[in-house]
């Protein structure tokens, strides 16, 4: 990394074990100011533990956490320039919306006028200007989410942490809140880190994605890099729809069980080739395949194909009228460009 400016948040060799169980294996993560970073992984992969270590609720077993050059590894959450939006929101039920939002500033004994002004500003940012006097239990889930966001943002944290912020919302509201989060991130230009198990959410929001599995970071990179060039089979499989084909490399040439051959540098041994469905197309002289199923999604068509090797290949066509070519049982020839495939050494 030859970044001109030092990263805002720097994790070096951070790990966490609970007794004999390793929740988070040693990892490095650099997040620059203004980044919108997603920590993506299945449940139980250690992503929440990682976020709680950044927030200060869990002390790392080893490693160092620095924010804006200051070592915060041993500081509690109340002393860190981070604020968190909790998965269950953690709103104070005995306070009104405005009192919830003002809580952090009231603790700092700021002047009354400043608190009132900044509370109003934070409520405006989350579009709840008129809700200040409401009690928490008279808000919908989405509104509670916004209050939790305003309560954290009013503190002007160097890093805003969000723990599965949208998991409790229904699909429509989730998309709406994703838009809100993007807008707020652009409006205040802050640094956000959020944890999610939903790859579409990670891709929709983040410019930097860290994929975790079983306590280890599998890959860190931009969404398109992770989608098109997954570093590991886990990433390929977890992120988006994908086809993984088995093959073997000998002397710089890979031969797939499905019957394809191409050049590929690397050690001899078994490999896997990862292809995204929308990169697969009907191609003269391609691999012969049999259509087993075709599902119409409105904007696209998802076709399941059986290859001669017995492996399944998914094809996604944006031509919604292509349905007649893909009747179950039909024979088609399919292929893809070499640049759209990712060759990964099999474990």
């Amino acid at each position: 990394m030859t970044s001109a400016t030092a990263p805002l948040l720097k994790l070096s060799g951070v790990s966490k074990s609970f007794g004999p169980v390793t929740a988070v294996a040693p990892l490095d993560l650099d997040v620059a100011a203004g980044d919108f970073c997603a920590i993506l992984g299945p449940s139980g992969c250690g992503k929440s533990t990682l976020l709680r270590m950044i927030a200060g609720f869990i002390e790392p077993s080893a490693g160092k956490i620095a924010i804006a050059g200051q070592d915060v590894t041993r500081l509690g959450p109340e002393k860190r320039p981070t604020n968190m939006v909790f998965q269950s929101y953690g709103l104070f039920p005995h306070l009104t919306v405005a009192e919830n939002v003002a809580f952090g500033l009231a603790l700092q004994k700021r002047p009354r006028a400043e608190i009132a002004e900044r509370t109003q500003e934070a409520l405006r940012l989350v579009r709840l200007e008129t809700f200040g006097e409401r009690s928490i239990d008279r808000l919908s889930g989405g509104q509670q989410q916004r209050v939790a966001l305003a309560r954290a943002l009013i503190m002007r944290p160097k890093v805003l942490l969000l723990d599965e912020p949208l998991a409790a919302l229904d699909l429509k509201l989730r998309h709406q809140m994703q838009e809100e989060l993007r807008r707020i991130h652009q409006e205040i230009g802050g640094t956000f880190i959020f944890v999610t198990h939903d790859q579409s959410e990670a891709f929709a929001l983040a410019n930097l994605v860290a994929v975790m599995n079983e306590g280890k970071v599998e890959q860190i990179g931009s969404p398109d890099r992770i989608y098109l060039h997954p570093a590991t089979l886990f990433v390929a499989d977890f992120v988006g729809e994908t086809t993984i084909l088995a093959g073997e490399r000998r002397k710089g040439r890979v031969r797939l069980k499905a019957g394809l051959e191409f050049d590929s540098k690397g050690a001899d041994g078994p490999v896997r080739v990862v292809v995204r469905p929308e990169r697969v197309e009907v191609r003269f002289g391609g691999i012969p395949a049999v259509v087993t199923d075709a599902v119409f999604f409105g904007s696209s068509l998802k076709v399941s194909l059986k290859l001669p090797s017995g492996e399944m290949l998914i094809l996604r066509s944006s031509d919604a009228n292509a349905g007649e070519h893909f009747r179950p049982g039909a024979n088609v020839n399919v292929g893809w460009d070499a640049k759209d495939q990712q060759v990964i050494d099999a474990p």
């Binding site: 109340e78 909790f86 306070l95 603790l107 009354r112």
Partner: protein
């Protein structure tokens, strides 16, 4: 719907009326009756109430003070215990609660006699003090005093405080505590601004339980209070039994009841105002 609902309530209301409301009203009426030649007869006299106010006024105030003190001590200690059981004891929290429940089975008189054997002239505490050389002869004020009554009452009533406080602490989510810490609250601020405001109903019922039970008690002061630690309840018993002055006994018990209710209502009103303008508000 409503008609059926009312019908279903009839048995409950009947039981309540016959075993509770009617006897209470009868006893209240007795406080205006008079006693002539050891016979109770209907009357409309304020003599018993006058006796309550003139003879027992000071003792009523003292009894209320003991109740207040015991109620406050139990609520404070109960909060500490329940807080530890809820947030600090981890999986042993429920075990601690079962332990407090078990002490309730121990019985009331057993506890009083236990304190007698601890605080008595040749009790454990005096023996220990003498063995340590802190005193040459047994300290007489340990037992048969106001202090002994308060200590025994707090010990006996503590579970009645712990249980409602623990129940309301269960409803305080960890996320609210973590959120407060994240926003910069110290440990003390988390308790005063987040935990206590959310626990007020439990704290209030804990206090009300302990206060009412302590103020109405007559066995503990009888066995541990001596002459200085007497409470009004003993004299209710005295008027009813030894003096055969039912009107006076009735006036005393209702006088104490009304005084307690007024005190509880005042505290409830205060608590209600605190709920509306909580400590976490803009300060």
């Amino acid at each position: 719907m409503t008609r059926h609902f009312n019908l279903f309530m009839v048995p409950a209301l009947a039981v309540l009326a016959f075993v509770f409301a009617i006897p209470i009203l009868l006893l209240f009426a007795v406080s205006f009756w008079s006693v002539k030649n050891f016979r109770l007869q209907p009357d409309f006299s304020f003599a018993a109430w006058q006796r309550f106010l003139t003879v027992y006024g000071d003792l009523t105030l003292y009894t209320l003070l003991v109740g207040l003190l015991v109620g406050l001590l139990c609520t404070a200690l109960g909060f500490v215990f329940a807080y530890a059981a809820r947030f600090k004891a981890g999986r042993f929290g429920d075990l601690l609660l079962v332990a407090t429940l078990i002490t309730l089975f121990g019985g009331y008189l057993v506890k009083i006699y236990a304190w007698k054997s601890i605080l008595g002239a040749d009790g454990l505490l005096n023996q220990a003090l003498m063995w340590l050389g802190l005193t040459d002869e047994p300290l007489a004020f340990l037992i048969y005093s106001r202090g002994a009554v308060v200590v025994a009452l707090v010990h006996f009533l503590l579970p009645f405080a712990i249980l409602p406080i623990y129940a309301s602490l269960r409803n305080v989510s960890e996320a609210t505590i973590e959120a407060a810490r994240d926003l910069g609250a110290s440990g003390a601020q988390v308790i005063t601004r987040i935990v206590i405001p959310q626990t007020l109903p439990g704290l209030f019922s804990a206090f009300a339980f302990c206060f009412l039970l302590a103020a109405g008690d007559y066995v503990t002061p009888m066995l541990l209070g001596g002459t200085s630690g007497s409470m009004l309840g003993q004299f209710v018993l005295l008027e009813f039994s030894t003096n055969f002055n039912w009107p006076a006994g009735s006036a005393l018990s209702f006088g104490l009841l009304f005084a307690c209710l007024v005190l509880i209502a005042a505290l409830a009103a205060l608590g209600g105002r605190m709920m509306r303008r909580p400590a976490g508000a803009v300060s």
